[in-house]
Each structure stands twice: as C-alpha cells, then as structure tokens.
C-alpha cells in the first residue's frame, strides 16, 4: 500500500498512532501490582512481632492458587479451551519434585522449574491429542485425563500408590518454617502474572485470542492454530506443575487424593471465571476472593456444608451481576478502577 501514502495520510496515521499509544497507556496501571508484590515480600516481617503463621499460610495458599489460576487462564481464558483436568499437572509437578526431594534430598523449590518443564512436556503431548476437539468434548476429555491419572497414580507402587509418600520436614523453627515456601509461591505468582501479561501482549497472545473467538477464521488468517493451542497448553501446564512441586513439600506429603481431586481444578476454573477469564488481574482477584470467602465462612459458619453453600451463593450472585467476571465486566463497561487494569 506504500504508493498510496500521501503526506496527508501520513500525517493522519501519525496522529492516529499517537492516539493509540495514549489510549493504551492511560488505561493501564502497573504500579499497583508492583506495590502489592513489594508488600507481600516484606509481610513475613510480621513474624518478628508475633505469631502470624495463619496470615502467612493464607497468603501462601492464595499465591499458590494465583500461580495455578493464571496458568489455567492462558489456556482457558486466552485460548478458550476450558480444561477441568489441570490438576493432573499439579500432581505431575508435585510427584516429580517430591520424588526427587525424597530420594536425593534436593529441595522442591530448586526442582520446581524442572518439574514445571516436565508438566509442560507432558501437557504438550496430551494437548496434541485432546486439543483436536473443542467445546464440551474437550472438557470431557480433560475430565477423563484426571481419571486416567488417578488410576495410574494410585496403582503405581514406586511412587507410593494410594497411600502416597511422606516427605522430610524442614528443620527451621516453627516461626520461620513456612517462609521458604512462602517466598517460592510469591515469586512464582509474580512470574505467572508477568508471563500472562507478556503473552497477552505478544503475537502469541493475539493468536490465542483469535483462536478463542473463531478458530476457523484464525486458521485461515494464517495462524498455526494447532501449534498455538498446544503451546498454550504446555505453558499453562508449566505453571500448574511448578505450583504442585512446592505444594507437595509444603504439605510434607504427596498422595493422589491431595492433588487429583476435582476440587482443585474446579477452583482454578472458578477463580478465573469469577475474576474474569482472559484478563491478567482476573485470576488474581478470583483467587483472593474465593479463598477469602472460604475462610470467612469456615470461620463464621463452621466447617459444615453450610460454608460451601454460602460460598456458592456469593459466587452465584457475583456472576449474575458480573457475567464476564469482575475484572472482565467492569472493563467492558469502562468502569474498571485503574489499579485493577493490568492488561
């Protein structure tokens, strides 16, 4: 089109490009996530003035889910493939790192990236098969995956079978015992959010979004949809696997029914749906809210079924008023507070 470029058009383009740049910058705020990260990094200092193990545990638990939900979001949010089987990678990461920790005594925190990589490779191979179908068929194939892996893990004696495997407990004083895991999860959460952001703003992310909207159009636009989808699957498995690796050591126990229960994958999905699928801040907000509600209702209503009911009701109400998730709906109506716009 170069021959069409008259001076006038060039000037108009220049103005347009500037307006685009301004529009994008105005809407986004990146100071807030950095501030939160900084606060979380100094939070353990509370231990110096009292016993805040519960706060540390909750934050750690939330960060663990932020890693998983952000990872899930890359496949489920950006690409539009809803997987209910991502806890399989949680288990793979947990068992891989846990076995190495139990036998070679190398901390899972060091092994975590490798465990993530193992999960990613397995995810890549599984993706090659299951990503050929989409919609309900894909969801069912992901559920089948959980069942297959549950049977394998429960019957594989080498990794402890259904009884699982106890891992060594670290020898730090109780006050500081959680901190290595705490920092590991905070760092992983920060990386997961950062990578989501990078992906969303890359050609890869644009392609994934195109796939989620119309796969045939995306393919005929020249996007290698099969490669994109499978890579998205691998990246999301990477984060879930990494979270699983450290989670196992934190619990000092790995057992199939810790990792391979549907609750974990459902939580990942719910967090993304509640916070806003396909947004950067969504999984983070979702993880914080769901864990906060859970704790609140367990504390006030006791550990009966009532607390589950209350959490469910809150979720229903939220989704009635925020059908695209909190961040997604607010962004659509242009009412997203600036500090939540990390996209």
């Amino acid at each position: 089109m170069a021959e069409l470029a008259t001076d006038e058009i060039l000037a108009a383009r220049e103005r347009y490009n500037q307006s685009i740049a301004i529009a994008v910058n105005k809407k986004r705020s990146l100071w807030f996530p950095y501030l939160v990260l900084a606060l979380l990094l100094v939070l353990p200092a509370l231990q110096l003035i009292g016993n805040f193990n519960y706060v540390i545990h909750l934050t750690l638990f939330t960060a663990c889910y932020v890693v998983m939900a952000s990872g899930w979001n890359i496949l489920g949010g950006f690409t539009g493939y809803i997987s209910l089987g991502h806890n399989v990678f949680f288990a793979i990461g947990g068992y891989f790192a846990g076995m190495i920790f139990a036998r070679l005594d190398i901390s899972t925190i060091i092994i975590a990236p490798l465990a993530g990589l193992v999960a990613a490779v397995i995810g890549y191979c599984i993706g090659l098969v299951t990503l050929r179908v989409r919609g309900p068929s894909f969801i069912i194939s992901s559920l089948a995956l959980v069942m297959i892996f549950r049977i394998v893990f429960e019957n594989w004696e080498f990794i402890g079978g259904a009884a699982g495997l106890a891992l060594p407990v670290n020898d730090l004083p109780v006050q500081w015992a959680k901190l290595p895991y705490y920092y590991a999860f905070i760092v992983m959460a920060a990386i997961a959010v950062w990578v989501s952001y990078k992906i969303k703003h890359s050609k890869f992310g644009l392609g994934l979004r195109a796939i989620s909207k119309d796969e045939i159009k995306a393919e005929s636009s020249g996007i290698n949809t099969r490669l994109y989808k499978v890579l998205a699957f691998a990246v999301s498995a990477f984060f879930v696997g990494m979270a699983g690796a450290v989670w196992g050591e934190y619990l000092t126990y790995i057992r199939p029914n810790i990792f391979l229960i549907i609750l974990i994958s459902v939580n990942m999905v719910l967090m993304c749906v509640l916070g806003g699928k396909g947004t950067i801040a969504g999984p983070v907000i979702g993880a914080i809210l769901i864990i906060a509600f859970n704790e609140l209702f367990v504390a006030t209503l006791g550990a009966s079924e009532i607390n589950v009911l209350a959490t469910g009701l809150i979720m229903m109400l939220t989704l009635i008023f925020f059908p695209l998730g909190i961040v997604g709906t607010l962004a659509k109506h242009g009412k997203l507070p600036q500090f939540l716009n990390w996209d």
């Binding site: 490009n17 969303k200 005929s220 636009s221 996007i223 099969r226």
Partner: protein, 247 residues
C-alpha cells in the same frame, strides 16, 4: 496462477464439487458463478483447505497446495474471505486486521502483538478502504457492510498474491456495493489476482475478465462475461430456459 485440476468434494453420496477444473490467471479477476448449491463455496473451501477435497489437485504458482493446512496456504499468498463475515468479537478492528499480518513461526511468537509498523500498515489499509474511523471499534459492533470491508482490509494485511472473495456484495446496499467494486478494481490494477464468488450479475459482468460457471458441482462454461451470457447451457442452468430475468 491458481490452477484447480479435477477437484472433487463429496459429502456422502452428494457430489458437491464434481471434477471441477478452472484457472485463475495472474492479474485478472476471475468470477465463479452458478445457481445456489452449484458448489462454488465448497470449491472455495477446498482451495483454502477449510475443507479437505475428496480428490483433485490445486496448484498455486507452480506449487501444489492441496496438502497444506489453511495457515500454510495463507502464508503462500492465498487469502480468502468468508460468505458470512467471520470476525473476532471483543477485539478491535485494528486487532482483527493485524491478526492476519504476515509474521509466523516460532521466532515471531513473542514479538509485540501490534508493532508500530503493523499499526501503520493497518491504518494505511483502512485509509485505502475509507474506514479509518472504525479502527478502534469492537469487531462485533460493526454493521454488515463494515464487516465486509474489514474482511477485505484483513486480507490485504497478509500481502496476498491472490484473494478469494466469497460473496463480497452479499447483503450490502448499492452505495457500498459501488465502493466495494471500486476497491476490488483498484486492487486488481495494482496487480492483485482476484477470484470471486458472487450472485450479483451486474457486479460480475462489470468487474470480471473471465467467468467460470458452475452448476451441480460441474463447470459448465468458461469464458469472457459476454461469451458466458450468451451460452445456452448457462441460460439453461440459471434460468431453466424460461425466465428473462438474469437474477
């Protein structure tokens, strides 16, 4: 340029495209016409590999392309639009267009989604089509005609050698139709090869250098618009030999 040899596509017992052969010559506008159900869109789908042909060969610039996947065909310079405009909702027009930008493969995955160069180019194309003002609209909020223009813009983003237009004038008003005809003509003058499926006979007769007529999956005539218009087989297929109306 584009050569279709003995292309067939069967759906069970139905021969939607039956042993079809035609050529789209370089730098020309070739029209593919025929009554409803003649197999035009199916032929299109087979060429762009949205469907897998049952048999036959498709050659583009001396390279056989019927074994490739759609994105590989697009990368080789053949882009298409869809009969019912497919656009990506919740993405701006600019993003819709830049999706089709020619940067593929591993090393491009982590490049920024929309580089300044690409934005420049996309805006240039929108300028050319006269729809710069909708650059930031959501792809799903556009009117039908705007979607058609956006499709055309997206095509151009991939620097195609040949474009396949599936009913570019379907459902658009006469003013916009003129506009679209002009755009196609101007693009063609710049050397772009065009293969077009269309029902609007006026448009076809004005625009095309060569017309291929299909009926019931077969090519029944092939020639200049004038030749085709006077071909008894075509009249028979189109009009059943009774009506005088050319629609």
């Amino acid at each position: 340029m584009l050569e279709v040899k003995e292309l067939s596509k069967h759906f069970g017992g139905i021969k939607a495209v039956d042993n079809c052969s035609f050529v789209a010559e370089e730098g020309r506008i070739t029209a593919l016409i025929g009554p409803n159900g003649a197999g035009k869109t199916t032929a299109f789908n087979c060429i762009s590999r949205t469907m897998t042909p049952t048999s036959g060969e498709i050659w583009l610039d001396g390279e056989r392309i019927d074994q490739f996947r759609p994105h590989q065909i697009t990368a080789r310079g053949l882009s298409r639009t869809f009969q019912i405009s497919r656009n990506l909702a919740d993405m701006t027009v600019l993003e819709n267009i830049i999706c089709q930008s020619k940067t593929r493969g591993w090393k491009d995955l982590l490049k920024p989604a929309m580089s300044p160069d690409e934005i420049d180019k996309a805006i240039g194309i929108l300028d050319f089509l006269g729809i710069t003002r909708i650059a930031h609209e959501d792809g799903s909020n556009l009117s039908y005609g705007q979607k058609k223009l956006m499709d055309l813009a997206a095509l151009l983003m991939s620097d195609p050698k040949i474009i396949l237009l599936d009913e570019p004038a379907g459902g658009v008003n006469p003013t916009l139709l003129d506009e679209i005809v002009n755009h196609i003509r101007r693009l063609n003058e710049q050397g772009l090869t065009v293969l077009i499926v269309e029902h609007n006979m006026d448009l076809i007769m004005q625009l095309s250098d060569k017309v291929v007529v299909m009926a019931q999956g077969k090519v029944i005539a092939n020639g200049t618009p004038d030749e085709v218009q006077n071909n008894p087989d075509v009249l028979e297929a189109y009009l059943g030999g009774t009506s005088e109306n050319t629609e």
